[in-house]
């Protein structure tokens, strides 16, 4: 006997998608629906809520199989456009990480460094159809006699190209300030001294994992919008940690869950995978991800009805605390406060700046919604779930 009044299965929702009857709304639209109709009625009406996020996501990269040479080669070291890739896999399999800069990058020798080109830029160039320059070095064997290889190659010419991001889509993230007396250049951007700026990076109410706080529907096998194409959630991401303080609505108040995602790079687009350069920090890649959330019951309706007023994060000092692993915060703020452009930290008003694109996040949620409405995209039912925590939720109608 189910504890819920509304009970839908993935199969039922997918049947409705196929017959063109599914009701699909974005996470932004769902807020008002749940507010006005209550979670039970919202669950009856809505089948799928689409989420979206577009921001710099380190811990991303791609596997390439670059095609054999004659004579054959077992690459030991490899570079694409002078960006080192990891070649210790097999003969011609390599992994290119997005935070890897070109080998001759001046890094932070001229501080703060610019980090103009790295692995993320290579991926973007490949998606734009550009030729990239691939170099490999090897020691010869009887079966792989070649010692080196240099060639220009396009994405279409790669035998295999798999986007494989071990940690994406952080469920919430710190709001960064700098209490030191000099500007710091961090992965959270440049932060002015004496707490004169605060940077934050989350799609908030649009963010996938904040709409499914206990990972009921996002798990291994969830089909997603990834980099403009179709991808899958393939594991919980590295550093996934469900055991952190949460609000009554289930959303974590710290950086908690993460997703590992994969998909065929060849069907993705440079509009949704962009190489980025973060001043003084390094290279990375902005990744577009959209996850559809099935409204199986009123609890999922309630979860997806969450709004920025009800999602909180902690304010962390990146001038000293973060680097020295001091576990301390300077209060908590809601995403509604952050989006207003001003927060209060220790009694002082601080301007707040976003690093995650809300415009693009919403665009992704809209694209995914349209894919589902067009019957082009069905939901994947997770075959295994992320580590989570026990919870109880009081659902008022």
């Amino acid at each position: 006997m189910s504890k819920f009044k509304v009970n839908k299965t993935y199969a039922e929702i997918n049947a409705r998608i196929r017959s063109g009857e599914a009701v699909v709304v974005t996470a932004e639209e769902m807020i008002d629906i749940v507010r006005s109709d209550g979670p039970v009625e919202a669950a009856r009406r809505v089948d799928v809520v689409t989420t979206g996020t577009f921001s710099t996501m380190c811990s991303s990269g791609a596997f390439f199989n670059f095609g054999q040479t004659t004579p054959t080669i077992k690459a030991a070291k490899a570079w694409i456009n002078k960006v080192p890739a990891y070649a210790g896999l097999a003969a011609i399999d390599i992994y290119l990480g997005v935070t890897e800069p070109t080998e001759d990058d001046p890094l932070n020798k001229i501080y703060p460094g610019e980090f103009r080109y790295g692995g993320g830029h290579v991926i973007e160039d490949l998606l734009r159809g550009k030729k990239v320059f691939l170099e490999a070095k090897a020691y010869p064997t009887d079966c792989y006699a070649n010692k080196k290889c240099k060639k220009e190659i396009t994405l279409a010419e790669m035998g295999h190209a798999l986007l494989c991001n071990p940690r994406n889509g952080y469920q919430n993230y710190n709001c960064a300030v700098n209490l030191s007396d000099k500007t710091v250049y961090t992965y959270m951007g440049a932060l002015k001294p004496h707490c004169r700026s605060a940077n934050y990076c989350s799609a908030g109410e649009l963010s996938p994992l904040l709409n499914d706080p206990y990972y009921r529907t996002i798990g291994l096998g969830t089909r997603i919008f990834l980099g403009g194409g179709i991808g899958y959630v393939t594991w919980h991401g590295t550093q996934h940690n469900p055991q952190l303080p949460r609000s009554e609505n289930g959303t974590p108040r710290r950086a908690a869950g993460t997703m590992m995602v994969q998909g065929d790079l060849k069907q993705m687009s440079a509009d949704w995978l962009r190489g980025v350069s973060i001043q003084g920090y390094g290279c990375s890649m902005a990744v577009g991800i959209g996850v559809p959330i099935p409204i199986l019951d009123e609890e999922m309706a309630l979860f997806t009805g969450v709004s920025d007023e009800d999602i909180f994060t902690q304010v962390v000092d990146y001038g000293h605390d973060y680097t020295n692993r001091v576990d301390r915060n300077y209060g908590e703020v809601s995403y509604a406060q952050l989006r207003s452009g001003e927060i209060e930290v220790a009694g002082k008003t601080v301007p707040a700046t976003p690093l995650s694109s809300r415009v693009k996040a919403l665009e992704i949620a809209e694209i995914l919604k349209q894919w589902i409405l067009d019957g082009k995209f069905e939901l994947g039912e997770p075959v295994a779930h992320f580590p989570t925590v026990d919870y109880s939720l009081d659902i008022k109608e």
Binding site: P112, A190, Q279, A286, G341, L355, V359
Partner: protein, 144 residues
């Protein structure tokens, strides 16, 4: 009051003349020099904000042009590559004059060239290098 920011390019013959002093005394305009790079016997550049009645500002510009000073609106020297910008908002925190700002509640990043003072802080803070500031004629010519 009429306020505009201009980019001036001084020919090398003018570098020993107190031109800005004449602007103030003859045309009663307020000025704020935002950037100046003037070397003896070399061409110089200046970013200057002029404030006054529309007539006085226009007359001072004519005066400058008569002296051979090349005058351009600064707004024309700064642009955003719309195909690169993905509206993250990082630049809005660093822009000291609000030329890059967020439109609420949709959080679209708005660029208002008229407010820009040409400091260039946004150029390196932008993760995809969508902002371009060019005071270099050669670069500008190459773009045309």
């Amino acid at each position: 009051m009429y306020t505009r920011i201009y980019f001036l390019r001084f020919p090398k013959e003018t570098c020993d003349k107190p031109i800005i002093y004449f602007l103030v005394t003859r045309f009663d305009v307020e000025f704020n020099i935002l950037k100046a790079d003037i070397l003896p016997q070399r061409e110089g550049i200046m970013i200057i904000e002029l404030k006054g009645s529309r007539e006085n500002v226009q007359e001072s510009l004519s005066y400058l042009k008569d002296l051979g000073v090349k005058v351009e609106r600064l707004a024309g020297k700064i642009w955003r590559d719309e195909s690169k910008c993905f509206q993250c908002g990082a630049c809005t925190g660093i822009c000291p004059v609000g030329a890059l700002s967020l439109h609420r509640p949709d959080m679209a990043v708005i660029f208002t060239p008229d407010k820009c003072t040409g400091c260039g802080l946004c150029v390196t803070i932008c993760p995809v290098r969508a902002m371009e500031v060019s005071f270099d004629e050669i670069v500008e010519d190459a773009l045309v």
